[in-house]
Structures are given as C-alpha cells and as structure tokens.
Symmetry: C2
Subunit: 265 residues, 2 copies
C-alpha cells in the first residue's frame, strides 16, 4: 500500500498522530490497538487518558450519527481516527495499522502473509476474547452479571473445560507448524500483530480464570504458548508500556475475575 | 495488490479455480463466501456439493494438523484454497476475494475503502450472524439445543427486542449516511461484499425470526434495509444463484427456525 498512487484523499492528511477512541477505565478491546501502537513505536492519543475523552467516544457512536462524507458511522469502540479516516472493529484497525507499523510481513516478502496474520488475530479474538466475555454475559450484554449468574456459571464450566483447551491447543499447533518458521512467533519467523493479540488474550485469561489457566499450564500440553507469552512480554517496548501508567488494570471489561466462575484451585 | 512485485510464491499457482471447503447440508458461514464467488463470476469448487467433500473439511481442521510450509493450520471452516494458499475465517476470505472479484473499491479510486467494507462486514457478522447463532446455543456450542432451551428463550427475547433493532438501525444509518453515496449500497455508491454479507444475514434472520422481522418491517423504521435486501436479491448473478441447486436450504446451521424462540405473531 506504501506504493499506492495518489488518491482523492490527500496523503498529507495522514501525517498526524493516530487517535484511539475507547472507554476509559478498562483495557478492553482497545488494548489490542494500544499494544500494536506501542510495539510499532507510533505517536498516538488515547481518549482513555484524556480528560473528558469519553465524550469523543459517545459522539462517535451516537445512535443518530450518519458518519460523514468519507466514513460510514461506527457501531462501537475501539475506533481509530487517522487524519480524516475513521474506522472501527478491532481486527480491522489492526489490519490498517499492520503494514504502517511493520507488524505484518511486507507484500514484497510474502504477498499473502497479511491474510494469515489476520486469520490468526480473528481466531484469537473469537475464541479467547469474545467467548470469555460471553462467559460472564451469556444471555444479554445489556443485563447485569447478577441477572445471569446461573447461566454464566454453566457457560464458564463449558468454556474452561472444552473451549479454552481447544483454542490454546490450536495456537500451540500454530507455533509448532512450519509456517511459524521456528516456533518463536505465530507466523513467518517474526513478531506480527497476531502475536500481540494472542498475548493480550492469554494475559486476560490468566487474570479471569487463574485456576483453570494454572491447571492447563501444569498439563505441559501448551508449553509453546507460555514461552510465547514471556517472549512478547519481554519485548523492549511492550515491557516499557506494561510498566507505565498507560497500561490500565483489568476490571469490569472483557476479562472479569469472578472466582465463582473459575475452576477449583 | 495486482501490481505487487514478483514474490517467492509463484503467481501462476493462482491461475486455478477457488476451492471452498465447508460443511455440506447448510448454507452456514460458507454462504457469505459463495455469494461473493457467485456475484464475482468466479470459477470455484465447493465441498458441499462434492461426493465425500466433508472429508476435505475434516482433514483441514484435524486437531493434529500443523498446516504446511506456507500455511498455518485452520481452526474451522469456511476455508478457501487458492493454489497453494489456504486461509480461513469468513471476513478474512472475503477480504482476500474482494479485490480479486471487484467487490471492493480499487485502491486507485479509494485508498482506504477496503477498511470501511471490512468493518461493515465484521459488524454484520457480529450482530446479525454470530449473535443469532448464540440465541439457540447461548451456553455451549457442543451441547444440543434441547440442553439449553430455557437459556435460548431468554437470550432470543433480548436479541429480538434489543440487539436486532440496534443492528438493523445501524445499517439503516449506514445507508442514509453520505459515505454510502446515494443510499442504494452500504458504501461508495456500488455493490461491495459488505452488501452481500448484510443480505445473507437479513435473509437468515427472516427465516429464523419471521414474526420479529415482520414487526420490524411494519414499523417503517428500517425501510432502507428492506429495499437494499430486494436490490441485492435482484442482481442478475445472485438471482440465478438463488434459483439454482447450488443454494442450499436453511436447517440446523447458524440460522435455525425454532418457533418458540420467535416473538408472537
């Protein structure tokens, strides 16, 4: 895309910092975008740490908004503004940032690599982010947890017993496969944004289901995943970010720690 | 991508038909891929209509598979093979096919158009395909519907009352917004694969929740959606496809018609 011809939208409108619009107070789905921006060394603003930033989020998802001349309305955050471009949907924002922040193989190196990275990110988000969210909200995202506790317990039991091992096992195989080129990273022998997505998911799950995750760790069946987790965490920029005030604590977001939903110790 | 330089993978390996790998017997998530291939006039094979085709699907998602030198393993169908490329995840396959089948604006016309199309497809799949699936399987995809009927009824009530109107209202606004360039199609004044995704979702929902959808139609609040539905259905190639034997009937897939989950007539 770097070599794309001039277009109707001025290139110069992109020589500006990225703007992340996300709810303050929780890492949430916005965290996948933050990790990409941090690892990519990007200059960005974040409504989560701007006084009154929540108003920008609310304006953008106003149920009367029709978007503008260039951009359709956006349904939910995270939202990325870059110049006059406004996009949302976590995997879509990552897809946009990937080539710009060198978090995917270049087209010259690997013409279709971005589709593999995108599919791995989508799979992690499906099984290790959306499903954990539904564990505490299986009936309705608009109801309180307390109004669906019984169903949440049933869903969480199935999740930790069947779904979580299935998805961890899948990514263990991705690391073991030849296309990982060595087993350190998910694809192509180098860090991509799919690695950052998997890391954030595993980190959230360790917080949400500490007992279930500890048992899976003890099983020895997913050793590639835990090594990968430490490898991402040890990246210079990621380490600096995680130690900074920009990294928010888990709370009432995607990953929630309700001890009654976890397995027995 | 058409002007990408030569890569390590031979271009000539792509001068072959697309191969869709999906479960036989239901439209399912594979239908989004079929509609794109049909509207794009592509030559393709489909395991759903090949004797023993299911074995290709099972081999590809074998829980011991490590993928191959080029391709990571795939977690679930739909899967697309194109030459030696193997990818999965519905929105990812559509992203790959979009430029090849002229189902997205070209980079020359609209540098970032593909991100808008991708975000609209992802939003439709989230709210109008994944959530309806969870209406009949809110607790565990591995359990029978009969084992989660009470929870399914509760979730479906919330879905038809709150979530379905929210997402239809969102797409109504997308059509009304300036970026649709006229309100006939979701983005940029021309059909993209996001229109096909929305169409398939609305079609499935009409079958799954006929009463709830009829009420929403009578409300007059979503007239753009119904006109869009007829517009897609009337496309020459789509019309021919829907009248052919290649279009499978709904059954025990994403969209299921359990009258007890629908609203009263």
């Amino acid at each position: 895309m770097a070599s794309a011809p001039p277009t109707k939208r001025q290139k110069s409108s992109k020589d500006v910092p990225y703007e992340l619009l996300y709810w303050p107070g929780i890492p949430g789905r916005g965290e996948h975008i933050r990790l990409a921006l941090e690892e990519g060394g990007a200059t960005y603003t974040d409504t989560a740490v701007i006084q009154g930033g929540i108003n920008s989020v609310l304006a953008q998802i106003d149920p009367k908004s029709l978007g503008d001349e260039h951009n359709p309305p956006t349904c939910a955050p995270p939202i990325l503004k870059h110049g006059d471009l406004v996009i949302n949907q976590t995997p879509n924002i990552l897809l946009y940032l990937g080539p710009k922040l060198s978090l995917v193989p270049s087209i010259e190196e690997d013409e279709d690599g971005i589709y593999h990275v995108n599919q791995l990110a989508l799979t992690a988000l499906d099984g290790l982010s959306n499903e954990p969210h539904d564990c505490h909200h299986p009936i309705a995202s608009g109801l309180y947890y307390e109004d669906q506790k019984v169903e949440a317990k049933r869903k969480s039991e199935d999740y930790t017993k069947n779904r979580l091992p299935k998805f961890l096992g899948f990514f263990e195989r991705v690391l073991k496969g030849e296309a990982s080129k060595g087993g350190e990273w998910l694809y192509g022998g180098r860090l991509t944004y799919a690695d950052l997505v998997l890391w954030q998911c595993v980190d959230g799950l360790k917080w949400m289901f500490p007992n279930a995750m500890a048992k899976l760790e003890k099983s020895g069946e997913y050793d590639g995943i835990w090594a990968h987790y430490e490898r991402v965490k040890g990246r210079e920029r990621i380490k600096a970010y995680l130690g900074s005030e920009r990294r928010q604590k888990y709370g009432m977001g995607i990953y929630r720690h309700y001890p009654e939903l976890d397995e027995e110790a």
